[in-house]
Structure formats: structure tokens, C-alpha cells
Symmetry: C2
Subunit: 221 residues, 2 copies
């Protein structure tokens, strides 16, 4: 194998191991063994576990950021639901590694790791603004979108801890949460109210947003 | 001064400095100077900046956890609004230190720091359950409460970054967000719907929950 090919293979093997168990528990020996090469050869390509971890995390970050990309077609609620499904696919595939990273993994506090996490959040934020058809977000819209992204992260982390709620329910719930947080903000601010009206005006009667309204109305005494 | 008295004084001085600027930028020299003692004497009481940082963080954590305590009297919405005010008071007082810590401060990843952050989240979680009159939370209720706590954290962090939205608005908005997240969960689950009915049944017409419903209804076309 060429150098770059070998590096990519090692990153793939490491990402797989870091995803299935807490990265703290994965040794270079194990990575070497899974890749079918010697431990010294691993060190030839990566100076240490941290650099291999960061390379694996970089690949995972690009994968995750890509999952927020979604064609700007059809109603917003349905698009967001597809994004949430792909997000939970990722969380499901990389469970232990995702938890360890977000709760304080081996490289937390390293500027490279923090920059990767921030880049995924920023990509998600920009995709959301694009779906909303907004180029310059107001302070309140930024708050709604960024805090909803953080809500999606914490919901995924809590879900991973025991998986006691079906993930399909949480995917839909997060779409509903976005509508609810936007509605609360709209209740406080005229510009957000205008945006909310634009958001819901093309929603079909069988879309997730309409479903939420129907469910909420059925709760009323 | 006695040993314990001097330690407490140093913790107070350090907490004040760590709160006003990013802890990375605060030196032991500066702490010594603010406390009016020599640098070697600081090291006599604390082996290094990290141990002083952790002691300061412990005091701040206890302070913050205490702010979620609130008498179980009167309507829930009004209680939560008082809690959110005290939470934003804390965030306001400790702004740069709070941001640095939550975004990856000098001691992030240290198990002592993570344990302190978790202890505050756990105290907030338990106080919320107590306010809801619940001793054993269902998986869905746990998700709503814990993810709302995370939403409060991220809202505070985003607010600190420029303070572009009046904090009083965000305090009320977070109370409304709790109601909204609980309502979304109630729209998915019968037990949550029962709990939501209990939550709102004693709410007065001029309380924050009723205000939200009024504002949302006024948004409808």
C-alpha cells in the first residue's frame, strides 16, 4: 500500500474501534492488530494515539457535517426529519465514541478536537439557515438555531445512555422541538413571528409540523 | 490568618479573577497580588493553578447548584422564572469563566472538573423533578428535563457571546421553552400528557405558562 492509502486504512480501522468502545479503552496495539500491521508501523504513520484519534475524528466530523446537507425541496418539516434520521444513524453507528467525545474524551480541550466539534456545529447551523432561506440571521434566530443544535446533541447523548426511548420517536420529536422553540421565540419577537409564518405556510396537512399542531390541540382539555 | 481562612480568601480572590477573564489568562502572580500575599505563599496553600482553579470551581458549583433550590410554593411557571433569574445572575457574574469552562477551559477533561459540572446538572435535574412532584422519572421525562437543562446552558453561552438579546427575555423564554419541550413530549406520550395537565392546572391566568399560550394563540393567522 502507498503511504496515503495506508493512512486512510488506519484511520478507517481506528474510527471503527473508537466508535464501538470509549476511545480511552482502545490501544495502539489493538489498532495495529485490526489493521494487520505491526505496532511500530502504526507509529510510522501516526506519531501517537492522539494524532490517530484526531484524524479519525476529522473523518467522522466531515461525515456528520455532510448529513445536515439536504436538498432545498419540499416542506421544511419533512426535510428536517430526514436530517434528524441521518443524524441518529450517525449517533447509532458511533455511539460510544460520540458519548466519550461529547462528555470529555481523550482529546477534549485539545484545540484540534474543539475546532472539529465547532466545525460540525457551524455546518449544521449554516445548513439550517439555508433551509430557512435566511442569509443574515438575527440574534434571536441564531439563538433558536444554535440552541436547537445543542438540544439535538444532548438528546442524542441521553438516548445513547440506555436507549430507553425509540429513536424514531426522538427524531420526530426533535423536529417538533425546533418548531416549538421557534414558536416560543416568535411569541417574543415580531421578526421571528414573520419567519415562523413563512416556515409553516408550505407545510402539508400530513407533515410533521401539522402533526405537532394536531397533537397539541388534542391535548387541550 | 489561619490556614483555612487564608485558603478561603485565596479561593474567593481566584474565583473573582477566573470569573472576570478567561482562566487561561489569569496567572498565579496576579492572584497573589490581588490577595496581597507573595507568590510562594500561594503555592504553600495550593500546589498549582489547577488545584486553585478546581477549588474556585467547586465553590462556584455549590453556589450555582443552590440557585436551583426554590420553595415548592405557588405556580410552577413563576418558580421556574425565579430560578432562571438566579441562573442568569450567576452567568452574568461569572461570564468569562463560565464560557471558558463550558467551551473547554484549562481543566476540562480533568475528572474533578467534569464531576463538578455533572454535580450541578444533577442538582438542577433533581430540583426540577421535585418541583414537578415526581420521585421516579420516566425515560421521557428525564429526557425533557435533562435536555432542557442543556438548553439553558447553551442559551446562556450564546447570550454571553455579545449579549445581543436582553437577558430578561431569555429568562422568560427558557421557562416557555420548558413548557414547549414538555408539550412536545406530551404530544408523543400519554404519561407526559398527564404530567403536563398537572403542571398547568394550577397556573394563574397571569403566570408565564398562560402568557405563552396567549402569545402563541395571537400568532395564529
Amino acid at each position: 500500500m502507498g503511504v496515503e492509502e495506508r493512512r486512510q486504512q488506519l484511520i478507517g480501522v481506528a474510527l471503527d474501534l473508537f466508535s464501538r468502545r470509549s476511545p480511552d479503552e482502545v490501544s495502539i496495539d489493538e489498532i495495529a492488530s485490526a489493521a494487520g500491521i505491526s505496532r511500530p508501523l502504526v507509529y510510522h504513520y501516526f506519531p501517537g494515539k492522539l494524532s490517530l484519534y484526531e484524524a479519525a475524528l476529522k473523518r467522522a466530523s466531515e461525515d456528520l457535517a455532510g448529513r445536515f446537507a439536504e436538498p432545498h425541496e419540499g416542506p421544511l418539516g419533512t426535510r428536517l426529519l430526514r436530517v434528524m434520521r441521518r443524524f441518529f444513524d450517525f449517533v447509532d453507528e458511533h455511539g460510544p465514541g460520540f458519548s466519550a467525545l461529547m462528555r470529555g474524551g481523550p482529546a477534549v480541550g485539545s484545540s484540534a478536537t474543539n475546532a472539529l466539534i465547532d466545525s460540525v456545529r457551524q455546518a449544521a447551523y449554516e445548513q439550517m439557515l439555508a433551509h430557512l432561506g435566511v442569509t443574515e440571521a438575527s440574534a434571536r434566530l441564531e439563538l433558536v438555531v444554535r440552541s436547537w443544535i445543542s438540544l439535538a446533541e444532548s438528546t442524542a447523548l441521553i438516548w445513547l445512555d440506555g436507549r430507553r426511548v425509540p429513536r424514531a420517536e426522538l427524531e420526530l420529536q426533535l423536529v417538533h422541538d425546533f418548531a416549538a422553540l421557534a414558536a416560543v421565540s416568535a411569541a417574543h419577537d415580531e421578526d421571528m413571528a414573520l419567519l415562523l409564518r413563512t416556515m409553516v405556510k408550505d407545510e402539508p396537512a400530513d407533515g410533521p409540523f401539522a402533526e405537532l399542531v394536531g397533537r397539541l390541540l388534542s391535548l387541550a382539555p
